[in-house]
Each structure stands twice: as C-alpha cells, then as structure tokens.
Amino acid sequence: MTTVFGIPVAVILGQLTLGLVNGSFYAMLSLGLAVIFGLMRVVNFAHGAFYTLGAFAALLGLQWLGINYWASLVLAPVAVGLVGIVVERLLLRRVYGLDPLYGLLLTFGLALICEGSLHQVFGASGQSYPVPPALAGAVNLGFMFLPLYRAWVIAISLVVCFSTWFVIERTRLGATLRAATENAPLLQAFGVNVPLLVAATYGGGVALAALAGVLASPIVLVNAHMGSSLVIVVFAVVVIGGMGSIFGSIVSGLVLGVVEGFTKVIYPEASNVVVFLIMALVLVLRPTGLFGRE
C-alpha cells in the first residue's frame, strides 16, 4: 500500500470520497440558506428542521401512502416548500421591519417546535429508509467500496446546485430576485409582486433543504434531531462562503466536506469542529466571507 505521511493512500481517498458526499449535503443546504438570507436578510435557523421534515415526508410517504423514493424526490420538497410559504406568510412577515436578530430567534423557536414534536411522536432513535433498489449495490473503486447510492447523491446535488446557481445568476427570474435584494420598493414600483417573490423564495430555499433531507434518508437514520446537528455546521459554511453569495456557499460546502473528510484521517475527533475553527478564522480575517460581497 502506498502511503502519504504514513497514512495509506486508500484511506485518504476513502475519507475524501465520503467527505465529498457530506460536502454535497452542505452545499445544498447552505445554498438554500444563502438564497433566503440574500433576499430576505433572515437567518433561517429553521433550515435544519425543514431538512428533517423532508426526510420524514419521504419516510412517512413510503410507510403510509406507499410513495416511493423517486416520487418523494419531487413531492417531498414541494410539500415542505408549501409549509415554508405558509410559515413565511403567517409568521416571518411580522418581523421584517425589526432587528434581524428577531428573525433569527423566531426561526430558532420554530426549529424547537418542529424538533420537539417529531421527537415526541417518533422517538429519538430514528427509523431506517430503504435504499431504492435501482441504486443498491456498490462500486469497487479500488481503494474502497462506494455504495452506488452515495455516488448518486454527489451527482444529483451537483446538478441541483448548478441549476439553482444558473437560474439565479443567468436567468430573468434570477435577475428579478437579485433586484429585489438590492432595492425592493423600486422593484415593487415596477410592478413586480415583491411579497409573492419573497414568499416563493423562502418556499424555494426550504424546498432545497427538504430535497437534501430526502436524499439523506437512505444514508442516515431518519430522526427528529438529524437537522439540528447539521444546521449549525451549515451556518458556518454559509458564513465562510459569504452570506449572500450563492456560488460561495456551494463551493464552501463542497470544500469543507472534503476538509472534514481529510481531518478524519489525521485527527478524527476534530472533524466536528474544524469547520468552526475555519469560520472563526474567516470572520476575524475576512469578515464578509470568502466570496461575500457586502
């Protein structure tokens, strides 16, 4: 076995590959967060809860209604997105004019409600969601067996992230969105229904989180707390990438997933905190984030 600094190359590559899988999730989740923050200046602490809801939607959809994985990939995000729109209209709307900290606290409270309720109803230990038969099995990469499903996750999240970036940066709809970020009243004066746009944006960002949740269900156990441990890391990713930057959050997500994987090889226990270390550094040295443009 060839080694690099005494660590077998196979091990490094294996962890990096797994890191890429995690990074895909980080990228998708931070993308949603960045979109929401960019337009609404709301730090959506409930993002993890929507991710969890997406996973539960897939699980319960299968258990109660027999909806299979492929249908869930579309239905779950739509359902959760609608929930998001309702939340935005009823609750978030009321804190727009205030100190942004209130938006943070409101979404924090929402996350608690969601997590607490799910915990109470379904227990803490989680249930498993079966890998769809078409994606079962593993690919022998030589240095590791990579389950086909995880390769699929990397692929689909790259597609989704790139498409979202493309829509926002290169299409007319995206231009309207970006204009709303910069000068909402003016845009409203031009006849664009800004409140609708805002609601749709929140719904869209949240739907992305739900999609990530569906993708995650065959990998991790679907449980009430799957979002809360993830959301803190995702926040760090968004801050590192630059809070309003779509591109920044995608790239940071992927890179940080890989960095985490690498840390697992050298100092496994620190893999949980390496992201925070980097975030603290970035905030001190380059406060707007690596790609931020505030």
Partner: protein, 401 residues
C-alpha cells in the same frame, strides 16, 4: 404596580407548586430510570416497565402490608437527568428501590446518588463492569450481565474460531470503553492482538467514515463495542460498504430485538453472549409467552432480568421484615436466587449477581423454525467463569489471597 405584585406572587406560587411533592405515605416505592426514547429504548424501555408491573402483580401488589408504587422516568441518555431524578425521588418520594436501565454512564452517576442517599440500586440495563469495581457501592447490585461476562463469552469464542487480530468500533462513553477494554484483555490473554479502535459518538447517524478506518487496519475481526440501534446500524453499514467481506463482525452486545430488526439473513452466524433466552427451559418459555401476549415481542435479557430483580427485591424485603436499606442489602447477599431467570444465582460482595451466562450463535434463516427462534447454544458458562474472580478493585470486596 399591582400587576407586578401579581407576577411576583404567581412566580412564588409556581415555584412552590412545582417544588413540593407529597412524600409517599407508607408505600413501598420502586423507581425505574431508563432510556425510553433513544438508542436503547427497545432493549428495556417501556416493555421493561410492563415487566416490572408483571412482577409487582405476581408478588401480590403489596409487601409488609404496604402498597407497592412504581415511578418511571426517561433519562434520555443524560447522566444529569438520571442522577437528578434519582436524587429527587429519594428526597421527595421516599424511594425504596431504584432499577437502573441502559447506559453505563448514567448508571455510574446514579450509583453515586444511591450511595449518598442509601437506596438499593439494581443495575439492569447497563453493562459497565466498573459499577462493581471502581464505582461499586454498598447498595449496588449488578443483576443481569456486565462487560466482563460479555467479553469472556464472545471474545473467547471468536479468538478460538480464528479471529486473532481485532479492531474496535467503540461507543464513546463508559460502556463502549469498558467493553472494549474487557474484550481487549480477553483477546490478548488468548494469544490475539488488538490493532486499534475508533471512538464513535453515541447515536451517530452515519458510521461510514469510522468503518473505513476499521477496514484500513487490516484486522480480522471488527469488534462492535456498542449496542442497541448503534449496533444494528453499524452492522448494516458494514455490510453496505463490503467490510464484512474481509472482517468478521463481533457482536459484543446484542439483544433479541437487534436480531429481530436486522433479520436472520443479515445476522446469521453472529456469536453473542446473553444472560437469558426465552427458548431455553419450560419456565423461560412460559414467561416468554406471557410477555409476548402483552408486548408482542419476546423478552430480552434486560426485560426478563428486571422482572426477576423486582421479585428478588420484594422477597428480600418480606424476609427482612423491613425496607431499611442496610437490612435489605444484607438479606439480599444471603439469598440464593432461583427463578426462571437464574438458577442458584447469588449476589457477591462486590455487587455482581453471579449466574449462568450463555454463548449463542445466531441461526441461519433455514435453521429457524418459528418466530423468535434465533439462537443455538454454543456454550453454557457457569457464573464464576462468566463473571471472573473478584478483582479487588472494589473496596467492599478485597481479592481473595
């Protein structure tokens, strides 16, 4: 200003209301603190509470003319919650017996409370052998099984079968560490080698990166030093990543419920050690059927154990004629325990309830003839062999010279 007064009064009222709880007047209070909703919820959990109720009912519902009450709480795998609840019950509810459910970390914390408050403390679900060594108290009884017996059973069997090099996937708290240590000792004593370990947080969602590290070690045996859903998930992931092709998994702690959720297809061939199996004797089968009628599952060793423990305690109280902790403990250490759970079991000076343990192998789907027909007995270990000699680490039980 009146409203402020009202607020302050309300505050005072709230505090008083929550803080004061009636002391159980002349009842015998049994408490059960367990993981009711987390990783270990199926091992004992709510079904275990039913088993306790069965025992209380079988005993007659009263002892020494006093009604028997049961209090239950969910420690959520947090030592602070378990210990605080135990202390509160001892201070405020006149607790006479505490049954400790899963999670060695929580039980170690609770054993300190048992010692301080002088309440008999029967550890049912937790495995950590330190409870009868460094952490022993005059009131602790380790009733069902411990890490020593698990290692002596499973590790010995697997080394003998050719698994000489081991790498461990360890749950990162008292239980995992102690189980890993116990197994490592056995492996080395039988001429094997421990290549290393990776610590995994309790309840981890994704084992893939840890398993890759295990595979990189090149060991023959994957020592799974975890339990409950951690165990089933890590085994499933090991299969998924093809690790079981090159490493043999060692189920250092597995319950019937785990085998049930994994299915015999995945679990076949696993070697494990248990203190109880429903299909061993006519008495165990009778208990099993009664339990199944209520719960729709066969009892795990913890659930059968907590039933037996409750009865053992109540019998001791009756014999001693009092619920005074010291007198009951003295009575307990004199008695022989003979019921469907243990034959000729006895409680040692360090608190271990010495009884027969069984090394089992999980049947193949073809060998299994009816539901819950999971195991075939590979070896019956007499209690002294399973639990080993007194180590002398417990000040109450010096090692025999």
């Amino acid at each position: 200003m009146k409203l402020r007064m009202l607020t302050l009064a309300a505050l005072a009222g709230l505090a008083a209301a929550a803080a004061g709880q009636a002391l159980a007047a002349d009842e015998v209070v049994i408490g059960d603190i367990d993981d009711m909703s987390g990783v270990y919820a199926d091992v004992e959990g709510a079904a275990g509470v039913e088993a306790i109720r069965m025992a209380i009912a079988d005993f007659g519902g009263t002892v020494l003319g006093r009604k028997i009450t049961l209090l239950t709480a969910d420690h959520q795998n947090k030592p602070d919650i378990g210990a605080a609840k135990f202390r509160e019950w001892a201070d405020q509810n006149g607790l006479n017996l505490l049954l400790g459910g899963s999670n060695s970390g929580v039980n170690i914390a609770m054993s300190k409370v048992a010692s301080a408050k002088k309440v008999p403390f029967f550890v049912i679900g937790a495995a950590g052998a330190s409870l009868t060594n460094e952490d022993c108290t005059a009131y602790t009884v380790h009733y069902v099984y411990d890490t020593t017996s698990l290692a002596n059973g499973t590790a010995t069997a697997m080394v003998a079968a050719g698994g000489k090099t081991w790498f461990y996937l360890t749950a990162d708290y008292a239980f995992g560490t102690q189980l890993q240590n116990a197994a490592s000792k056995v492996v080395e004593a039988h001429g094997g080698k421990n290549l290393g370990a990776v610590r995994v947080p309790l309840g981890a969602a994704d084992f893939s990166s840890f398993l890759l590290q295990a595979q990189a070690s090149g060991a023959q045996v994957l020592g799974l030093s975890n339990a409950g859903t951690d165990f089933s998930n890590s085994l499933k992931a090991a299969n998924e990543f093809g690790i079981t092709k090159t490493m043999k998994p060692a189920a250092l702690l597995a319950f019937d419920t785990d085998i049930n959720s994994l299915g015999l297809q995945t679990a076949q061939g696993l070697t494990l050690t248990t203190g109880f199996y429903w299909d061993l004797t006519p008495e165990t089968r009778a208990f099993g059927k009664r339990f199944f009628a209520k719960i729709n599952r066969m009892p795990t060793m913890d659930q059968a154990g907590v039933y037996s423990a409750t009865l053992t305690y109540l019998k001791a109280v009756k014999a001693a004629g009092t619920t005074d902790a010291d007198k009951v403990m003295a009575e307990l250490k004199k008695t022989r325990i003979n019921d469907m759970f243990a034959k000729d079991g006895y409680i040692r000076a360090d608190g271990v309830m010495v009884h027969e343990m069984y090394v089992m192998q999980v049947k193949t789907p073809q060998e299994s003839k009816y539901p819950w027909d999971f195991y075939k007995v590979v070896k019956r270990m007499p209690g002294e062999e399973a639990f080993g000699p007194i180590t002398g680490l417990c000040p109450l039980a010096p090692a025999p010279k």
